[in-house]
Symmetry: C2
Subunit: 360 residues, 2 copies
DNA sequence: CTGAAAGCGCTAACAA
DNA sequence: TTGTTAGCGCTTTCAG
């Protein structure tokens, strides 16, 4: 079984091996009569021929493989989505993803890169579980690479990250639009792109609406249920009528604390979360209005940036590889590969309207 | 840069290309002096040599690639873990995973298999997001394959699945051990390995403790927060002092409903969940005692079964590939590849003790 | 338009 | 112990 080679096909079809090759691939440099092509194709199908990617890669010097190394995306509840997006976009371009999750282990990471190199990947997506600044491992210099959900301060590599500022602004704006003026922000204390960016967005939204920023409304609390639970007292004491929580998990904790005090969302307090972590946000009572992370898009744009890098100025040609693939519409175009230093590509965080905001 | 070949290394080291090959790989058929080996190795390092996996695969007729096709594991909040387990185990054996998530789309699935075939994978893990019975796609017959988190009724393929019955029994036993005799079971209505298996486990545990099974204690409710929320009334009306919920999400809904009625877990009602969906279970108030799904192990055992299939009777040899890898201890051995029909390998569901059970 | 033939980088007989 | 060499299956000039 199995081992049907091009040679077999050629022989069975009564053509040379070269002709068979032309016929099977839609090679544009060579014009082959439709009849011949069809015949070869049919024979190939009948024999169950599958081109050997190893041989093809060797001969062409191109593997059609894209590496995806992450420090935990696969394990994180979040970000299977970014892999999915990357995979879909890779696929659309006739590439396939070689995924390795290093779980943050440097030994594994080193090996992962060795593997990628050996397998002649055309580039690698280096991705982080949590949006953060990284110092790129030395291996990245040996391969065309782009950063996803992380970035290097020097901008030595193209990076694709969520637009935290816009996200924070959007979340806050939701509350303002509902008529709230006194809006608390439960923020994660450690400095991070997310905590800094969302706070900046919060302030920007307030400012745009002429609401004065009151530092007492910014409450520091851990970015999980316990944090949100513990922050309830401070939120209530602040006199806020609405609260923007750093993430959905904190919102969930806040819900709990509120319920224990006999208070109701959104009647007594409007709340908006962040992350759109569906298991939580979609199923809280009431369902949580929140701002999502553009994970799928991060993946898509990551590989798009990577491909743009290796074919400078080349137009993407649509082949039939996308049959049945979800279409990626409404996504920002990736900037022309301008060369370093690269400014991170900021991807918009979408609004997810549910039932936790009450107009007043 | 980059393109350093074995030939280059050989030349630079002043040996033949064959010798270089022996030296770089730890080939056991050929003994070459440590000195030569070391020299070659050093030159290789200096030049930044990386063996070309495509050429190696072609020449050896072996790709060291294992396919992993899933209908949504990557997207599901659950099961990045199974990929992780599969990847780790593959790695330990010098293999690497080629992951494709078809998202349940048959067109994509077909293409995924074509890709796998082309890339000469040595076998494929076919995995489902939710534990279920499947009819294996025809392509599986062309490749050595094993099913993970799913199975075919005829046992034509080895399958690795969670032991739902044991899980259900364990969950119930937890409650019994705490002194409860009247234990409700909030079950998911649709027939599935999980609903059937967990119910059987529930009944078995009761029986083993001489508690009579009362059908009125089995309450049908959707397997999510809404379901658990809605089931509260029935649970309370049943007079149960404890409840085993089909999953953590339902438990979460139940928590909500209870709190709204001024009732407390575990004082007024003990509860145990299922799935150990950490975002939820670990952070509920009080934290939820639950039974986990052995996802990581499913992945590990899946590839282990696959490898066992292709090297019948061969002992696994530990090479140095596992440096820095998490170790897989305490895992059941995969059964000898007995040949079809295969009985599914049942993997134990672990207990996760937290704070939602109160002794009485 | 089609065939012959030279590799792609590496492995593994087979010789030396 | 080491070198020579014939492929692995496919792509792609270069002739025909």
């Amino acid at each position: 079984m199995g081992k049907v080679t091009l040679q077999d096909v050629a022989k069975a079809a009564g053509v040379s091996i070269a002709t068979a090759s032309w016929a099977v691939n839609d090679n544009k440099n060579v014009r082959i009569p439709e009849a011949t092509r069809r015949k070869v194709r049919k024979v190939a199908d009948r024999l169950g021929y599958h081109s050997n990617a190893l041989a093809r890669g060797l001969a062409r010097g191109r593997s059609d493989l894209i590496g995806f190394v992450s420090d935990g995306v696969a394990t994180s509840p979040f970000a299977g989505q970014v892999i999915q997006g990357a995979q879909d976009e890779a696929w659309r371009n006739g590439k396939i993803l070689l995924v390795v999750d290093t779980d943050g282990n440097p030994t594994i990471e080193r090996k992962a890169f060795a593997f990628m190199l050996e397998h002649q990947v055309e580039g690698v997506i280096y991705s982080s579980w949590v949006h953060r600044s990284i110092v790129p491992p030395a291996e990245l210099d040996r391969i065309t690479s782009v950063l996803v959900n992380c970035f290097d301060e020097q901008g030595r590599f193209p990076a694709v990250v969520p637009n935290e500022l816009q996200g924070g602004r959007t979340a806050t704006q939701l509350l303002i639009d509902a008529g709230h003026r006194r809006i608390a922000f439960v923020n994660d204390p450690p400095i991070s792109p997310a905590s800094v960016g969302r706070l900046a967005g919060y302030r920007q939204a307030l400012e745009e609406s002429g609401i004065e920023y009151d530092p007492r409304l910014v409450i520091a609390a851990g970015a999980d249920q316990e944090g949100g639970y513990g922050a309830a007292g401070a939120v209530l004491a602040s006199g806020a009528t609405a609260v923007f929580c750093y993430n959905d998990r904190a919102s969930m904790g806040l819900y709990d604390a509120l319920r224990e005090r006999g208070l109701r969302v959104p009647d007594d307090l409007s709340v908006v979360g962040f992350d759109n972590q569906e298991v939580i946000s979609a199923h809280l009572h009431p369902a949580l209005t929140t701002v999502g992370l553009p994970q799928y898009d991060l993946g898509v744009l990551g590989v798009r940036a990577l491909l743009a890098l290796q074919e400078p100025g080349a137009d993407r040609v649509g082949d039939d590889a996308d049959a049945g693939m979800p279409d990626a519409v409404g996504m920002p175009d990736v900037a022309e590969p301008a060369g370093p230093p690269y400014a991170p590509l900021l991807v918009a965080c979408p609004t997810v309207m549910r039932d936790s905001i009450k107009p007043r």
